[in-house]
């Protein structure tokens, strides 16, 4: 039997880096095929070539035995290849039907299209209203839009790029159910992820890439997750560790905080109450768009609130701006590295100055002390193993993981009393992620309080003492993270507010 898609010797080089080096593998009809690898391993480039967004330098692809070289996504779609993107390629200000029509070659009339959307969404158990604005949908619902857009094309091969990174455990279950049903009907699925347990439950075959080369093909059910991780990284990983300890006094307290959203697709915070103690790591889980950004900007001081609603060691600082809060010891590292946590076109030295100027004494009487600033940047680079030629390099030039280490390191080296981080390891490869988590734990060990906002539940369970969920701007009552099962977390994330009573 000929493979549905056979890839032979595919090579693609960019200036300075070989993204894919002689990669070959085959996908069979009705197979769920995993593509595994760290960030920068070349997964994205590979699927972009299959989807016609990038042209390979060398190598051939064959679709059902016939040569296949899509010049553009349109040609790929016509050949029966569809793709669900990692960062959703959706238009927030357009409605579901309009978004779907944009992904189709010959969309039917709006009314017929709405009818077809309803039919497909019922068939595959993905409820969706065609006339809702995409900006108002949850991440899981947005993904449904993408999937239904693909399914309406009747694809032979469906490519999914990290589909579960923004979903609740329950939504993941629904997605897997849909994917299994599709595979049973004969659709092949190329599934990109670095979540190994998911791949073990879902996929038939896995191809593992490392630094652009294929290093192994395996059957995920037959090997352990640790084995696959070693193949991906090329070495074994250590799990962050720390000693048991008793939490100290309450450092940061937020009481009855309600803030209405600043943008049309933002989330309002509703009656948020939380406290963290010295030496404690509080994990805040939740699907993106449930108020994480808003909560961070309230804590950082970007959104000023009533003075008494945020207190640090009893000092009311709700009305203070970010610099004043830094002075008191409340530091933040926001999610978006380029543009929020760091200024992309400024050097690392300049970026070090931006948040460190007060606490590290990098300026005097309005003049910048450049030598001290450079020293501070160099200290961050050395202490957190940031791979860069030097502190004069622009932030934009660093890879995601390296810049993240720099941004988190910059705050940690300022000896925060309380550190708030949002998505500390988003888009960061496994070894850098482990280093960042260890640094956060060491900080807590040293007596600081740490709040970690993340969508990665495994990460939160690994490092948090207490776990609470943010859902539609409401924060659940915190529960000890140890011993918390995925089932319970799913309910907390899904917004079962009556859970509060149980928790008490």
């Amino acid at each position: 039997m000929t493979a549905l898609l056979a890839i032979e010797g595919l090579t693609k080089a960019y200036p300075g880096v070989v993204a894919n080096d002689d990669v070959s593998f085959a996908i069979q009809t009705g197979e769920v095929h995993a593509l595994l690898g760290e960030n920068g391993a070349g997964k994205s480039t590979l699927v972009k070539m299959i989807y016609g967004l990038v042209k390979p330098d060398r190598g051939v692809m064959r679709l059902r035995g016939a040569p296949y070289a899509p010049a553009e996504p349109r040609a790929a779609r016509a050949a029966g290849v569809a793709m669900v993107f990692q960062h959703f390629s959706l238009f927030e200000a357009l409605n579901v039907a309009e978004n779907i029509a944009l992904g189709m070659e010959n969309p039917p009339k709006p009314r017929d299209l709405a009818e077809r959307i309803r039919k497909v969404s019922e068939t595959y158990g993905l409820p969706l209203d065609p006339f809702r604005l995409v900006g108002d949908l949850s991440a899981g619902e947005r993904q449904r839009v993408e999937i239904i857009r693909c399914l309406l094309q009747d694809p032979k091969l469906l490519i999914m790029d990290e589909p579960t990174s923004v979903l609740t455990p329950q939504e993941v279950e629904i997605l897997f159910h849909t994917l299994r049903k599709l595979a049973a009907e004969g659709t092949a699925i190329l599934y990109i992820s670095h979540k190994l347990e998911e791949i073990r439950t879902l996929c038939d075959t896995a191809t593992i890439l490392r630094l652009g080369k294929k290093v192994a093909t395996c059957t995920p059910r037959d090997v352990t997750a640790a084995h696959m991780a070693e193949l991906m990284v090329g070495k074994s990983l250590s799990v962050p560790a720390r000693d048991a300890h008793e939490p100290g006094a309450v450092l940061l307290k937020v009481e009855g905080l309600s803030v209405s959203a600043a943008s049309p697709f933002g989330t309002s915070l509703r009656d948020v109450t939380l406290e963290v103690r010295a030496g404690e790591v509080l994990g805040i889980g939740g699907v993106a768009g449930n108020g994480q950004d808003e909560l961070l900007s309230v804590l950082s001081g970007e959104t000023p609130v009533a003075a008494g609603s945020v207190t640090l060691k009893g000092v009311a600082l709700g009305a203070l701006g970010p610099e004043a809060r830094r002075g008191l010891g409340l530091l933040c590292a926001p999610e978006e590295r380029l543009g929020h946590a760091a200024a992309p076109d400024m050097s690392l030295t300049e970026n070090a100055l931006l948040t460190g100027r007060g606490r590290k004494g990098l300026e005097a009487r309005g003049f910048v002390d450049w030598s001290r600033t450079r020293g501070f940047a160099e200290a961050i680079i050395a202490r957190f193993d940031v791979r860069t030629p030097g502190p004069g390099v622009a932030a934009r030039a660093l890879s995601g993981g390296n810049l993240q280490k720099f941004v988190i390191g910059r705050e940690i080296l300022q000896d925060p009393v309380v550190l708030v981080v949002n998505q500390p390891t988003w888009g960061v490869d496994a070894s850098a992620a482990a280093a960042i988590r260890q640094a956060l734990l060491d900080l807590a060990q040293g007596g600081a309080a740490v709040i970690v906002i993340s969508q990665d539940l495994d990460e939160l369970l690994e490092i948090s003492d207490l776990f609470c969920a943010l859902n539609e701007g409401r924060l659940s009552v915190p529960r000890p993270a140890r011993g918390l099962g995925m089932e319970e977390i799913g309910l907390m994330l899904g917004g079962a507010h009556d859970m509060h009573e149980v928790a008490r």
Binding site: G52, R74, S89, F91, A93, L94, L102, S263, P264
Partner: protein
């Protein structure tokens, strides 16, 4: 002091037309995610090219074509700068205005005060003679009706057709549009040229039909008011029409007040159309959440195709 409401309405429609044309073109440009601040420059290029051709050929139709052509040439420069060479849109647009004003002054030197043919009116005298409705509805030149039809056409295309959907998609999220295989740069080239044609048509209307003369800087900020209209109208075609008529109405009214010598400083009366239009539109679009919903999210951002 008696101001005849019928002649006032007739005047306001005429005064509003250049601004309306320029604004409806810019609306399409901005909906595709491009901020072209060179409207004023393109308008005055349209005005001078239209006037020269009207004088030399004696044909008003040719004048309109020339006005569009002159402004589109300028728009093409902007498109190449911002879409191919990735220049900053704000700086390029401002430069375009300065360039257009200077070039128009150069081209138009010596044409001041020369005669141009009178634009024809499409409706027969009998219709124009109807009291009240006649002058208001049937006394204008063709381009006035074209401009109003264009507002309807732009609304229909943007809201109801696939081409409009693609334009909105490109303006909303160019990376996603690119990922779906739409030619972002090509689409933006087309909208920028359309915006240039509209601005040029507005300029040609101003010099050939309304003023029937050419002098330096005759657009007098109409291009800027068109830009402001688009933003404060929340990128809605119908509101652009309302805003343009409001602007035209106040402009026509203040001229009559000046003539009647009311006790208000002339400078304040001169400024009043700009002030009132912007204040009213700011109030209409004061709900920032709703305005942001309509704003093209990718407006003014350079698009680099990630290969």
């Amino acid at each position: 002091m008696i101001i005849d409401p019928v002649t006032l309405i007739v005047a306001l429609i005429t005064v509003a037309t250049p601004v309306l044309l320029a604004a409806i073109g810019e609306l399409v440009v901005e909906k595709s995610g491009v901020l072209n601040l060179g409207v004023e420059g393109m308008m005055i290029m349209g005005a001078v090219c239209g006037f020269i051709v009207a004088h030399e050929t004696g044909s008003v139709a040719m004048a309109f074509v020339a006005g569009m052509g002159g402004a589109m040439a300028l728009a093409l420069v902007f498109a190449v700068l911002t879409q191919v060479l990735m220049a900053n849109q704000v700086a390029s647009g401002l430069a375009l205005t300065l360039f257009g004003l200077g070039l128009a002054a150069l081209l138009g030197s010596g044409y001041s005060g020369l005669p141009v043919p009178v634009a024809s009116r499409p409706f027969p005298e009998a219709l124009q003679a109807i009291p009240v409705a006649g002058p208001i509805l049937f006394s204008h030149s063709v381009l006035v009706y074209v401009a109003i039809a264009l507002v309807g056409a732009v609304w229909f295309v943007l809201a109801r057709t696939r081409a409009g959907l693609v334009i909105r998609a490109v303006g909303e999220n160019h990376d996603a549009a690119h990922a779906l295989g739409y030619k972002v740069v090509r689409i933006r080239f087309a909208t920028i040229l359309f915006g240039g044609a509209c601005a040029g048509l507005g300029g040609a209307f101003l010099s050939v039909v309304r003023v029937q003369n050419w002098f330096d800087g005759m657009t007098a900020g109409a291009g800027w008011i068109a830009l402001a209209l688009v933003v404060f109208a929340s990128w809605k075609a119908g509101r652009v029409l309302l805003g343009a008529w409001l602007f035209g109405g106040i402009a026509a009214l203040q001229l009559r007040l000046q003539a009647a010598e009311v006790g208000v400083p002339v400078a304040l009366l001169d400024a009043s159309p700009y002030l009132v239009t912007i204040i009213v539109l700011v109030i209409i679009s004061s709900d920032r959440r709703r305005a942001a919903l309509n704003a093209p999210a990718a407006l003014g951002r350079a698009f680099h195709a990630a290969s």
